[in-house]
Symmetry: C2
Subunit: 384 residues, 2 copies
């Protein structure tokens, strides 16, 4: 049996001789007892090795970098200061070439950037981790969009116990991504599966269905997951913020209401999104005022407060009707350094001047997933 | 609006200054009209750049490599010979350091190796691609294993139309991974979603439910997807081939039969797997002889033909009963160069000497995913 096991090791794809010069066997990243983190890479021919990541801040506010030092045997390393509990992202830069950590298979994609990740333990790290709690089901589901003329992919989370709860009906959150994102983004970059599982298990959020559609009206799915093949993702797909998606949104609601055991009432429906998804949530909730009782705008783009065409027509009248119908919660959250901060100041002035009630949360930082995970965590505890 | 769109571009995480020295903007890999493929990477400080991949064969039969040439401006490139239609894997090696292609976000993980992928068009490429056909639903589902003492994750494929087909019941294929694999492997490395969608849409396979559990009895899930956290995957997890998993397997069947609209008869159940998963299929189908009408052994490890303990006890009697009960299809496939070839010769001798019927397929090549995708494609057209 041992001989068989030994030989099965060979089932790992054999790669070229060069590939033995990787960092296999090195621990990287290594979370130390004081929550500092050590990064290592074997690069004997390198002249300069750096690590860049979101736990390092550059002068411009983006990812900073730190230089690794070589041990005389080709192993470069660097240890951070103790870090707060969080999910972090990073990559190496070897002689100017950005690359992933060969010792770490865990990564996320943001548009066309791949980044390694790690979790520093503690309260927030636990919230973003898979814990020994009951888990919901995550499905990739296709629906037909007549108005957009294609089959389109969405992610659907059903909470633990859904399959065994007979005829019980659940509230639904529609959770929308930002520009350059897709139906996978909230589950990967946003850790929504883990946040939902953990909050529901702790009794801090009610069991709910969460629907994450694709908000790029010209695209069927995330890159590589549709009939448009394996293409280089683009940051700004066409037809992202011109009304087609918002106008098609009830197709998604009808699909969900006819395929899942939902409560089909506004007080059991929420729509929330980040950045472009906040823009979508803003206009969708106003366009269909008796549909969504809860609205979440996370670092939202809040343009089109003047009359436009289609879903952007009749702004004042539509938002007046939305609030006249009663909104259980109109939730706005943004970071102090967000480039969309002024947009949100303007929105709040408008709401204030009309006496429309809302809840406002201002955080540190800018237009980043760390903030969106925090806003989601807060919002989930306030709906339904 | 354009100003907003421009500024939304900044939502992509800003990375260190170093990161501007990447290959963004380069087309790589570029599939040319004659199905040759050009690889490019911007690496101005590199001395030697190679591409290694499964379309290049080394003297040892593993991945070979080819050297790129530099254009005087830091861009290295190399063009392959025209390639047969297939899904291929590759990586770059820059001055001895293995790295992914910065221009290609599409990749697969095999144990702890990350590899870029591309598809060369044609018949097989189309089979492995997402096409404009009806798509099944792919779900990540957790079940409770009493015998293994933990919640465990599985992947479940339900065919297009399942949700809208009322009380219609479907046959079920249990599809098992190899050592070092997990419940994600058949869907990522094996392209099972695409193969199923395409064969079912073409009427070449019947609509079926496909269940892909995790075959490592000591583990709850794929690395990073369970409460064991973000750890470095290992090739040989404990309790992989010592009987625990096979002995627990009816828990999975019961879960599936009670949560999906299945036909609960042997003639509508199949079990198939690759390598270790073939070993599991071999023993599971014999242990529960009235449960599976179809058995697929793809490059299977076929040890334990002598009496052992537990599920490995009473070999002759159990397999005699399995074939006495009637097996619709006992399917064996292996490559000429597979390191488990002799095991399969021995199994066939045993089956021949006892007059147990089976179907045998011998392909070129060895213990590789390319072969397992082909075996799956063939097997799917012969069951139910």
């Amino acid at each position: 049996m041992l001989a068989l096991l030994a030989v099965l090791l060979m089932a790992v794809p054999a790669i070229g001789q060069q590939a033995i010069f990787t960092s296999e066997g090195l621990a990287s990243p290594q979370i130390n007892e004081d929550n500092s983190v050590t990064f290592r890479i074997y690069a004997p021919k390198a002249v300069k090795v750096e690590v860049c990541g979101d736990f390092l801040v550059s002068d411009e506010g983006g990812w900073g970098s730190a230089g690794l030092t070589e041990d005389g045997h080709g192993v470069w390393s660097w240890t951070s200061a103790p870090l707060a509990s969080e999910l972090y992202s990073y990559a190496f830069v070897v002689d100017g070439l950005r690359m992933l950590d060969p010792s770490n298979v865990f990564l996320m994609r943001d548009v066309r950037s791949l980044m390694n990740i790690f979790i520093v333990p503690g309260e927030r790290g636990a919230l973003y981790s898979v814990n020994d709690v009951s888990h919901g089901t995550v499905s990739k589901v296709w629906y037909e969009s007549e108005s957009l003329g294609m089959s389109r992919r969405m992610t659907v989370y059903t909470p633990a116990g859904y399959e065994d709860s007979g005829s019980r009906r659940y509230p639904v959150l529609y959770l929308l991504h930002g520009m350059g994102g897709d139906e996978d983004a909230w589950m990967t970059l946003g850790r929504a599966t883990q946040i939902l599982d953990n909050l529901i298990a702790a009794g801090k959020a009610v069991p709910m269905i969460v629907v994450m559609p694709n908000g790029n009206a010209a695209l069927p799915s995330a890159p590589g997951e549709g009939p448009d093949g394996l293409y280089q993702p683009i940051t700004r797909p066409p037809k992202s913020m011109e009304g087609s998606y918002e106008a098609s949104f009830l197709e998604i609601v009808r699909f969900v209401d006819s395929h899942y055991r939902t409560v089909r009432k506004a007080e059991d429906r929420a729509v929330a999104g980040l950045s472009m998804g906040g823009f979508h949530s803003f206009h969708i909730s106003k366009q269909y005022p008796d549909t969504f009782g809860y609205v979440g705008l996370f670092s939202a783009a809040v343009r089109q407060l003047e009359d436009g065409t289609g879903v952007y027509a009749d702004f004042d009248r539509k938002i007046a009707r939305q609030f006249a119908d009663g909104v259980e919660l109109y939730y706005i959250a943004i970071g102090k350094d967000d480039f969309l901060y002024d947009e949100n100041v303007r929105l709040r002035s408008y709401l204030d001047s009309h006496g429309y009630p809302y809840e406002y949360h201002e955080s540190d930082g800018g237009h980043i997933w760390r903030n969106w995970r925090i806003y989601l965590t807060d919002f989930l505890q306030k709906i339904f």
